[in-house]
């Protein structure tokens, strides 16, 4: 492998970093959606990703549904889980502090993880790639097609979400609820509906992340916590509530991990990524793309 040059290796790490980072970015955006509508940090976000992966595995390899259909059904099922979660656990607590709701999401993540273990067991599951696994070659690095799916879908999701929040009145209404619940209800916004919507959107988004990463990284019942941690890292690093921030920071975390693992040691990759997170927060507490002005208005 001596002739496998450094440049090629670096390119390989770059691809891996962007791929992993895209997943962190999507999870980070999921955090942001619920945060922007409710000021809740939903620690069950990683569980949506895990469920997305495992439900997809079952639908494709056990029920033998075609991939595109399984993809849509998985989104529907996990979105429903998000909806139930909000209706059964968040909504009934309505007039309580945000902090209690955050703790509630931690409880829910433990519950969902337990149920998943009950259903799928403790094994890791593989999922066949979306379009074969013959590697393509780019800059001397070999890329499995799934990589392109991950990056492409992430880009698509970011574009769709920025249109939704930037251009539609429902998207604006969701932000208004986060900003000032009382004023939002005074202009006729159904705030409860918006909170529900944010959980559904976030769950569906998590499901997509789970489905696209499973062919590359397998999936098991307890993956959620680590994904949530990294996604949360991306969300904080990029500036809480900021979509583009989450994307930039997610990919940055992915790259740090990938280069850290390749050039230093794979044992340090989490430490390096989280170390970078701490460093940025020491220097710029509002995150990379967060404005200090906006963060003054926030609870966390």
């Amino acid at each position: 492998m001596e002739n496998y040059g450094l440049i090629n290796q670096l390119a390989q790490y770059l691809i891996t970093g962007i791929t992993v980072g895209s997943i962190y970015a999507i999870v980070g955006i999921g955090f942001n959606i619920i945060y922007n509508a409710t000021e809740i940090i939903n620690f069950a976000q990683g569980e949506f990703v895990m469920l997305g992966g495992l439900v997809m595995v079952t639908l494709v390899h056990t029920v033998h549904l075609p991939m595109p259909l399984a993809f849509l059904i998985t989104i529907a099922i996990v979105t429903l889980v998000g909806l139930l979660m909000e209706r059964l656990a968040i909504f009934p607590l309505k007039e309580t502090s945000v902090m209690r709701l955050v703790i509630m999401t931690i409880a829910l993540s433990i519950l969902i993880k337990g149920l998943a273990m009950f259903v799928w067991g403790k094994n890791s599951f593989a999922l066949k790639p979306f379009s074969g696994d013959t590697p393509l070659s780019l800059l001397g690095a070999s890329i499995v097609p799934q990589t392109l799916w991950i990056i492409g879908i992430t880009v698509l999701l970011v574009v769709l979400l920025s249109l939704f929040f930037g251009r539609t009145i429902i998207g604006k209404a969701m932000s208004a609820c986060a900003d000032n619940l009382e004023a939002a209800s005074l202009v006729g916004i159904n705030a409860q509906r918006m909170v529900m919507l944010s959980f559904m959107l976030s769950a569906g988004l998590g499901a997509v992340a789970g489905m696209i990463i499973t062919p590359m990284a397998l999936m098991e019942y307890d993956r959620g916590a680590m994904l949530a941690l990294k996604g949360f890292g991306a969300c904080i690093l990029g500036g809480l509530g900021n979509f583009y921030g989450a994307v930039v920071a997610g990919i940055l975390l992915g790259l740090i991990e990938s280069y850290g693992a390749g050039l230093i040691s794979s044992g340090y990759k989490d430490a390096l990524a989280l170390g970078a997170l701490l460093l940025v927060l020491f220097i710029k507490p509002s995150g990379l793309l967060g404005s200090a002005e906006a963060s003054k208005l926030k609870k966390f």
């Binding site: 604006k172 000032n180 939002a184 005074l186 202009v187 006729g188 002005e293 906006a294 208005l297």
Partner: protein, 237 residues
């Protein structure tokens, strides 16, 4: 237009309103004056549905709305510009206005929204210059204008204002009261709650004086202005 009968309301566990009667006729400006903690804000929040624990009767245009939700009440045409400039701070001025017309968006009435915005800009030209600025970065007076403008985007039949002059420079206060008079001339009925009793009684036709949750005095505004008791307690003479 609006009839409030024997309204009792509870705010944070205490009874803030102890049986308030209030009547607003279409087309006028009515003011409620009173000291801090008299129950003025509670009264307004009860009318607009933000306070749920209440007894009594609130009737708007022959329809009982006592148990209605805020979004139902606003869709009937009662808009509240809340106290303390509660704008959507992290959204732009334009988005704040658009959200004021949220109900029209739901009804897909785009041309109506454009007309409403033009009207608002005519009354508050400064908002037009600040369209893309985040509402949280406006000055206090501008935020107050935006809060009123947002409520106007509902095109309300009854516009309720909670302390529009609070914390503002006298020049801004004057400007805001001028706008209220113009709005009223165009047919909007106004319920105005103010600590600045003199200014409020000058623009209103009728006034109520609220003290510890009950109306202690009511009457035509120009008579209240010369009432000895009111002069001592609220006008600082």
């Amino acid at each position: 237009m609006l009839e409030v009968t024997n309204l009792k309301a509870y705010y944070g566990g205490i009874q803030a309103l102890k049986g308030v009667n209030l009547s607003i006729k279409e087309g006028g400006i009515v003011t409620i004056i009173g000291a801090n903690g008299a129950g003025k804000t509670t009264l307004l929040k009860s009318i607009s549905g933000l306070i749920r624990s209440k007894e009594g009767r609130i009737v708007f245009q022959d329809q009982e709305i006592t148990k209605f939700l805020p979004r139902q009440i606003v869709s009937l045409g009662i808009a509240l510009a809340p106290e303390g400039r509660q704008v959507f701070a992290s959204l732009s001025v334009e988005d704040n206005l658009n959200l004021g017309a949220y109900l029209y968006y739901r009804r897909k009435n785009r041309s109506k929204i454009r007309t409403l915005k033009e009207e608002v800009f005519e009354l508050f030209p400064v908002l037009k210059e600040r369209l893309s600025q985040l509402a949280g970065t406006l000055s206090g007076g501008e935020q107050q204008m935006l809060s009123i403008a947002r409520a106007m985007m509902v095109r309300p039949k009854l516009l309720i204002l909670d302390e529009p002059s609070m914390g503002l420079a006298p020049l801004f206060v004057l400007e805001i009261f001028k706008v209220l008079e113009r709005l009223n001339q165009r047919g909007t009925t106004i319920l105005l709650v103010e600590q600045n009793a003199r200014a409020a009684l000058r623009v209103a036709q009728y006034g109520y004086v609220l003290e510890t949750g009950i109306v202690i005095l009511e009457g035509q505004a120009h008579k209240l202005l010369v009432n000895e008791k009111i002069k001592k307690a609220y006008l600082g003479d």
